[in-house]
Subunit: 127 residues, 4 copies
């Protein structure tokens, strides 16, 4: 199967996860619904490290917390790539498509450098 | 700077976002703290599509919802790659490191194919 | 101040939290922004207990997990009541207002007992 | 049944939701698992209003955003009370129990007014 031998960051991670999951027979738990829950939980664990900080810069985090943050980011990515695998979604294509929509929704000359406008535009986004 | 000309899925997405943000002068809003919030919000928007479904398979989602799901997945990825850029995190390395920890934490021969054990092991994970 | 002597579940919890926070001089960290992050993190910790289960009924959870779930529910409530305190929001009034909107948005005779319609209406809700 | 006639903020909200759900025959979708997802989604929608703000004070929010925030807070509360109803959890008792644990975990004389210590203690919490 050509796809499985494809190179690229996502393909490599996808294969690593497939092997990990198959070795544990955990595919049975990996419905898209469950994976999207797990992704949300990991994103919140990432957020937790920042919630009482000012900006969460590398300096403010410090080395120990930064390592934990890196691992939470990995967890988020693992579940995202796994979900993409189960739903047969091409992440690179999805980002390309979405960025076209974003450029149309937030025209640079209208929203440039204005926090208020940025925020209002976020509202229009209706996300 | 060598990194900026690096190929790969993440490097390509990172450059696309940098251009998008710079054109809008939005870097000022992109503290790691704010980006981790935005990532969490997008992950929840993704989850929302699945919350009342049975499993969220492609068939159950249907074409229209699947397109929305693809775009929410793109949003999650965009904020994750942007956060990695701001914290100077190598996502491929982070996943490699984390998978080593996961393999040690969930030994295949102990957790294989057992929902109860899977769940208990998740508890031990303390996430 | 009349409000502080008001009875009711929310007023009681609010006073308990005020005392707890004041004893620790933690009010300085409790911006609405930070509290809404903390609330989201606790909601995700609650979700985590259910993510690999079928329905999460009392029977499926078991006594030990149910106790953890109760504590996560308490954490969510504590941050919600604290946020309401800082923003001077009357939670009972907010629910009453929102339920009027919900009744208008989901007319009982149109959405009754139909998963598909329920879901479509959720989409219209744009939440 | 004595409980149903009980007064109190939670009992009143619980009865309002029961009526709303029964009129729409939506109880079938309200597994604890689904409700905890919905709760998490609403908490993230609440967070979204704050994610690009400085502190999210009433002044920074403004009247229009504050109204949206109030409604998101109502949504969070509705799902929390509904989940408590389905799992037969007494929210007042849960908060009382959890606050006993919190007082033991964060002794006032050790953590008072120190952001760094606050944060470290949060880490110990293992949330």
């Amino acid at each position: 199967m050509a796809e499985q031998t494809a190179s690229g960051d996502f393909a490599t991670i996808r294969e690593t996860i497939r092997t990990f999951v198959d070795e544990r027979d955990w595919d049975q738990f990996h419905t898209p619904k469950n994976l999207s829950s797990a992704l949300c939980v990991e994103a919140a664990e990432l957020l937790e490290h920042f919630q009482w900080l000012q900006t969460g810069s590398r300096e403010e985090l410090g080395a120990a917390k930064l390592e934990q943050v890196r691992h939470e980011m990995a967890d988020v990515l693992v579940y995202l790539v796994r979900l993409a695998d189960k739903l047969d979604v091409d992440l690179n294509a999805a980002v390309s498509e979405k960025m076209v929509l974003n450029r149309a929704k937030y025209p640079a000359d209208k929203v440039r450098g204005d926090a208020r406008k940025y925020d209002e535009y976020k509202d229009y986004k209706g996300t």
